[in-house]
Symmetry: C3
Subunit: 138 residues, 3 copies
C-alpha cells in the first residue's frame, strides 16, 4: 500500500496485489492517527470479498472469491471502541458484468485498488444502538 498524493484535503492511496484491503487501510489510519474520514471512491479489483446485507437483526453474508472489477466504494471512518472503524459499501461486477454489492467486511486486492479518502480531524464516533447496529455520531 502506498500513499500517492495528499492535496486539498484528499489523499490518493494505492493498494497492491495480495493485500488485505481492510487490514491495510485500518493499519494506515492508525499509523496516521486518522480517527475520522470520508471515503469518497475506490476502483480496481478485489477477490475473496465477504459482503453483507443487514436484515434488521444481523448480517446475512456471501463470499465472492473470484477477482472482480470494483465499480464503486463509498464510506466513512469513525472511532468504535477506541479504534478507527471503516464503514464501507461496495459494488462490483460479476462474470457477466452484472453488479453485486453490499456492506464490505473483507477483501483481497487483486491487481490494484485506487482509493480516494478525505481525512478529517477527530470527532466521528460509532455508538451502540442495540444488536450489531452501531450508529455514526459526533
Amino acid at each position: 500500500m502506498k500513499e500517492l498524493k495528499r492535496e486539498n484535503g484528499l489523499v490518493i492511496l494505492r493498494f497492491d496485489k495480495g493485500e488485505d484491503l481492510m487490514e491495510n487501510l485500518t493499519g494506515w489510519l492508525e499509523e496516521q492517527g486518522i480517527q475520522s474520514a470520508a471515503i469518497l471512491g475506490g476502483i480496481g479489483m478485489l477477490s475473496h470479498m465477504e459482503i453483507g446485507r443487514y436484515d434488521g437483526r444481523e448480517y446475512s453474508k456471501i463470499t465472492e472469491n473470484e477477482s472482480c472489477e470494483i465499480l464503486s466504494l463509498q464510506g466513512s471512518v469513525s472511532m468504535k471502541e477506541g479504534k478507527p472503524f471503516v464503514h464501507l459499501h461496495v459494488s462490483f461486477a460479476d462474470h457477466d458484468f452484472h453488479a453485486i454489492g453490499g456492506h464490505l467486511f473483507s477483501g483481497t486486492v487483486s491487481m490494484t485498488i485506487e482509493m480516494v479518502i478525505a481525512p478529517m480531524s477527530p470527532g466521528l464516533v460509532r455508538k451502540p444502538m442495540g444488536g450489531v447496529f452501531w450508529q455514526m455520531d459526533s
Copy 2:
C-alpha cells in the same frame, strides 16, 4: 437528521430511521441557504424507494418497499424554480445482493444513512430543456 462534521469543504450528514431522505435533505439545504453542492457519497439503508429511468420523454418508475443496503449515492444540488433541487442517483442491493438503481425520487431512511456533501457558493441552476428534462447550468 444531524450534521456530524463540516471540514475542508465537506459536510457529513446522518439521517435517522423513518426520515424522508429527500424532504430532510432539502429542508437542511433551505435552512443553511445552500443553493449549489456536489453530493459525493451516501451509504446505509433505504426503504420505500421510488426510482426512475428516463426514456427520452418521461420517467418510467418502480418502487422498492423493502429495506435495502445503499451501495452508492451521487448527485448535485442546484436551484430550480427558486428552490434547491436535489439530483441524486442511487444503487442498492436486493435480497440476493444484486444491484439495482436509477434516478432517486424518494426514499425512507431505515436504520441510518451517512451522506457526504460538498456545499458550494450559489451559481448552479437548472434550466428547462423541454418536457421533463431540466439541464444543470451556471
Copy 3:
C-alpha cells in the same frame, strides 16, 4: 461540455448530448494542463458504452448501445506515456433497473452528464506492469 463551477478544490463539469465523454474529458484536461485528479462522481445518461472486465491478461468487453441512467462514476487521472489518462469505472441501469458495470472505455453522452472532479498538482503517473496492466504510481 461546460465547466459550471470550480470551488474548494472541486470542479463541476457538464457534458452535453452527443459528446464523446472520454474525448471531451481528456481534451479539457489537456487544455487545463491537469495531469492528476480524482474523479469523484458522475450522473446522467450515456449510450454506446464500451465497458470491460480484466481477466488478469486482457479485457473482455461488451457494448451497451442504448441510453442508460448512470448510477456512479469513480476514477482517477494520471499521466500515461506523456498524456493525461482517465481511469474510470461505471455502473449503469439497464431496462429493468438492474445495474451493470465495469471499466469504461468509451461512451456517448445522451441528455447530460454531471461530473465532479478534483484536479491536483502533477505527480500521478501510470507505469507498465506487464501486458495491458499499468499501475498508478507517484
